[in-house]
Amino acid sequence: AQRVTQPEKLLSVFKGAPVELKCNYSYSGSPELFWYVQYSRQRLQLLLRHISRESIKGFTADLNKGETSFHLKKPFAQEEDSAMYYCAPRGIQGAQKLVFGQGTRLTINP
């Protein structure tokens, strides 16, 4: 079964502090991994994807296949990072769907 676990529903940190949003997945095969972000009243936006190994807005994510994790990190949080974050694996064949986790609501306190 395809399953994504984001254990923290809510996460609150102070501005300038490091942030880590956890994601563990259970997915047959070797999926591609994505993080999506949803700012208040806006659409879901692609934040980053494992395949491109990019860093967007200071966020990075490391895929650990042994632990089946894809945690999202940022060394210094900013107030504009406050949003809902979703981890989502996607199969690599066909029109494979994204499977979303429950999401973590990140709040950055001033």
Binding site: Y36, L44, R90, A95, Q96, K97, L98, V99, F100, G103
Partner: protein, 114 residues
């Protein structure tokens, strides 16, 4: 930057009525999706569509739901007889390709069934 466009942004309908939610995906994208998000819950997959047919559908996507790509540009989701529990935000998405390609999401249609 190309966008996925959804209309209307908000629709209120009476229980039992039919609704059609409309989406215009990005023009060179090949894969199309509908998701929904009930208030306070996670984003749930409904259906994927490729090459003019449904590729996969979830258990939510029962006989009350259908999708269509009538003219090569629009992608619609029809709910034949709405129920109260169909109230949710419905997101359309499109993707250029498989696997490592992410989706581009529309801004959603908030459906309220009364």
């Amino acid at each position: 930057e190309p966008e996925v466009t959804q209309t209307p942004s908000h629709q209120v309908t009476q229980m039992g009525q039919e609704v059609i939610l409309r989406c215009v995906p990005i023009s060179n994208h090949l894969y199309f999706y509908w998701y929904r998000q009930i208030l306070g819950q996670k984003v749930e997959f409904l259906v994927s569509f490729y090459n003019n047919e449904i590729s996969e559908k979830s258990e939510i996507f029962d006989d009350q739901f259908s999708v269509e790509r009538p003219d090569g540009s629009n992608f619609t989701l029809k709910i034949r007889s709405t129920k109260l529990e169909d109230s949710a935000m419905y997101f359309c998405a499109s993707s250029e390709g498989q696997g490592g390609y992410g989706y581009t999401f529309g801004s959603g249609t908030r459906l309220t069934v009364v």
